[in-house]
């Protein structure tokens, strides 16, 4: 087990700053996810940690050891690639045993450990298969076994589930998490799939254009986005621009329609003063159909309904603003219907612009 720390880590490709002065700390045994759109630098960050790319600036520490200039093969990472990267000229056993042979582990022990790890990933008896005889899910498990068998200090996952079909992906997700927790290995996981990130991670770092936008638990980044990018990238919401008219425990924000709403800062660190531009964000499930308070109420007309089984998602508007509202699946509602909705001030988040 190891903690990982980066200080001002930077990687440049030509004119593109792929990773831009990233400083963060990943704790012992933590399952840490880098989440962001494609091209945001998350994979480059991971590859720099693995030693596959040279850091142009900044330092990387495993515990207190500076490994910035250490070659990849001495870092003791286990990496699972998006394309699995199984060696086609070796069978399953040889693929997994390769790292042990390099470590000069005795033959008998190699056999035992490969067997153990195959059991762990539920591929008992598959030793003699060649990679092309395996399904995508099985290849995935072999790649995982190969990374696990060397008892790595840290596990690195580069979008490992993106080539699997949806059902298998959800199954493997739970399994990865179970294995990582059982073995207690620090893991860094890269994905562009926010649902995957939310369901698997202890903490998530949302990245955009090489920079960290926010680090937090799944709940934190959903409930308390620090900025507009995180708010829009994670989940759905109703977004209305406005201007802060009074600050304090509760803010008052004047929307462009002239209406003033009560809101709270989106994140404890966000400071908003009167006169600041702000973006109001309300999650679909924060709306209720119980108006009557005289504030934070919106009169809207429904123009689209998505029935999702456990809920209904309404798209509605009041001519100036668009709303996404989650309602009970049993509610009888039709397109064109007018509704009055209420958003409690504590769920009406003001994001600093």
């Amino acid at each position: 087990m190891v903690s990982i720390r980066t200080v001002n880590l930077t990687k440049v490709f030509g004119d593109v700053v792929a990773v831009d002065h990233v400083s963060l700390e990943i704790r012992h045994g933590e399952f840490f996810t880098l989440l962001g759109p494609s091209g945001c630098g998350k994979t480059t960050f991971l590859r720099t940690i693995a030693g596959l790319e040279m850091a142009d600036e900044g330092r990387i520490y495993f515990d207190d050891q500076d490994i910035t200039d250490m070659p990849a093969h001495l870092r003791g990472t286990g990496m699972v690639f998006q394309n699995y990267a199984l060696w086609p000229h070796m069978n399953v056993f040889d693929n997994i045993a390769y790292g042990l042979k390099i470590r000069k582990v005795p033959k008998e022990e190699i056999r035992r450990r490969v067997k153990e790890v195959l059991k762990l990933v539920k591929l008992e008896g598959m030793e003699n298969r060649t990679p092309h005889q395996l399904s995508g899910g099985q290849q995935q498990r072999v790649a995982l076994a190969r990374a696990l068998v060397i008892n790595p200090r840290v596990l690195l996952f580069d979008e490992p589930l993106s080539n699997l079909d949806a059902k298998l992906r959800i199954e493997m997700r739970a399994e990865l998490r179970r294995l990582q927790r059982e073995l207690g290995i620090t893991a860094i996981y890269v994905t562009h799939d926010q649902e995957e990130a939310m369901s698997i991670s202890d903490r998530i770092a949302v990245m955009n254009k090489g920079r960290i936008m926010q680090i937090g638990t799944p709940k934190e980044i959903y409930k308390n986005p620090r900025n507009e990018f995180v708010a829009r990238f994670i989940g759905q919401g109703t977004f209305i621009p406005g201007e802060v008219v009074s600050s304090g425990e509760e803010l008052e924000v004047r929307l462009e329609s002239g209406k003033v709403v009560k809101a709270v800062p989106s994140h404890p660190d966000v400071r908003l003063e009167a006169g600041d531009k702000a973006l109001i964000m309300i999650r679909p499930e924060s709306f209720t159909l119980e108006p009557g308070r005289g504030y934070n109420e919106f009169e809207v007309e429904v123009y689209h309904i998505s029935f999702l089984g456990d809920s209904q998602m309404l798209q509605a508007s009041n001519e100036v603003e668009n709303f996404i509202i989650e309602v009970d699946p049993d509610l009888e509602i039709s397109v064109g219907q007018k509704l009055k909705v209420y958003a409690p001030p504590k769920h009406t988040l003001a994001i600093k612009l």
């Binding site: 200039d69 070659p71 990496m79 990267a85 000229h89 790292g99 390099i102 990374a147 690195l156």
Partner: protein, 626 residues
Amino acid sequence: MGQAAGLSKLLRKIRWEMDAFSWSQLIIVLASFTAFLIVPLGLVIVRSFYSSSGGFSLYWLQTILTDPFYFPLRLKLLNQFPFISLEGIRGSLYEVVKYQTASGEETIVLLTGWDMGVIPNSLVVATFTTLFSTVLGFTLAFIFAKYKFPGSEALRIVSLIPLLSTPFVGAIGLKKMIVADGVLNVLFYDMLHLLPFKIEITGLPAVILVQTLLFYPIVMLNSYTALISVDPTLEEQAINMGASGFRLFRTVTLPLATPGIEAGALLVFILSLEDLGTPIVFKGTTAEKVLTFQIFNRIFTPAGLISQEATTLAMILLVISGLVFVGVRRYVSLKKYAMLSKGGTWRPKRKKLSPAVTLLVYLFILGVLFFATLPHIGVTLLAFAKQWGPTLLPSSFTLDNFIAVLSDREASRCIMNSLVYSSIATLFMVVLGVSAAYLVSRKKSLPGIEALDLLVTIPIAVPGIAVATGLFLTYLGTPLSPTISGAPLLIASYTVRKIPFTVRSVFSGLEQTDKTLDEVAWTVGASKTRTFFSIVMPMILLNVLAGGMLSFIYSMSEVSTGIVVGDANHRDAPMTWKMYDMLFHGLAGGTFQPAALGFLLMTLQFIFIVGANLLLRKRATALIGV
């Protein structure tokens, strides 16, 4: 400050990418190429500008450019239309010779071509060879790529046969076909009476004919690959917008296939320019008056030194090919050319032809194939002929030529020499070629790596006779001198000249192997060196083998260095020198014994090329495309 920071960053980058193993790979490649290509070619250029006392001088360049033998062309201003005339061209396109035979008067039309002096001749021959090869090669490629007819795949493969032969071997066979009492005249004049007179093709036109028939497959292969690599939807889109027929061809199909055609044409131009084998076979005619032959003919001074005249000619040849290469490279690099040859990923759409058109297509293709296979048929027949007068086929067949060749002590020693030198050279090519291809493929981010790529690809475009001249200039009188042993320079020459085949095969293998397969080995603890041997090499083994086989067989058939070294040292001469020697200095057997040697070489070549392609199957469609 900024500069210093940039420099230290660069140094860090180099330290990061290059471990001891990579350094040793880089150093052996650079050292070998410096010693056996860069320094020799540099000396060719420098020595051309030496005066007899050792200082800088334009004497030889001036002497050559003002000598009517090399460059007779002069522009003369006239008083009347067209006001300018080009003087210095000698001879005429053809001569008519009449003579009496027992059956009456016979007319022979001798196609001799004009003689414009050595330097213009070389350029004219290369230009016409390129033109004809391109038209022929592209037409065939177009037919095979766009139309469907029974047997098209088989015919396409047969039309690549000329690739299985060096100009030297092919020219021996073709010569027997096109002389006055040769097979073509026997067939078309004596037997079928299709010709009103006999035609003999000789001199420069013969060189153009031989080269066209031997080089068109290069353009064909490249055009074919380019044509089937074009996304068919691009053409469909054009048809959808109303283009059809010739307009579609001119505005969409041709431009898309142009890079492939250009690459092939460039290669043909340079191969024609540097071809020494064909002019040698037609020795005694104007075919002698080309740069390669003149360099070869006067490379040694009577004192056994390298003549300055030949050196200067080699410099001129080198500069011309260099200019052509650089000029065309602006449009299409050899690298891009290599990529184009990787083969199409589309499922090409082929049109069916009406029966009448199919018949026409068959006639055209079979006609081309008839001529294209003449050299090979010729060599084969000659090799097995006991006697062959003015008849269609030899009057009797025998194995005596092979027995004679194999029992001739010098000939069998030369075969042995060739096998040994080529094997050793292949070992070097594999080590150097794999090293270079690995560095180029896996260390793309290192600045300057493109230069290494160019260095190991460019030998395709360097005239062999210039390399030979340079090697002699550099190593005559040193322990590597060919007068002591022919082996070192021949092996060195084979290695630097034929390495592109290995490099390209290995490189394409590496490019098809995902880099993450290396990376994952590093992450589980394998050093880069260990990864290279236990992961990378096993995955590209077939490409290494196939590339090595091609390099081996092209080494066996190397002409330029071989016959120059052979002339200097008969004992260590290779097989190609023996063929040359038997053609002109042989006591008995005439062309039969050299043809037998040529047939052996051709057979070996066939086995190796087919073998290499079988090894790779579909991994490298156009591997034999030079």
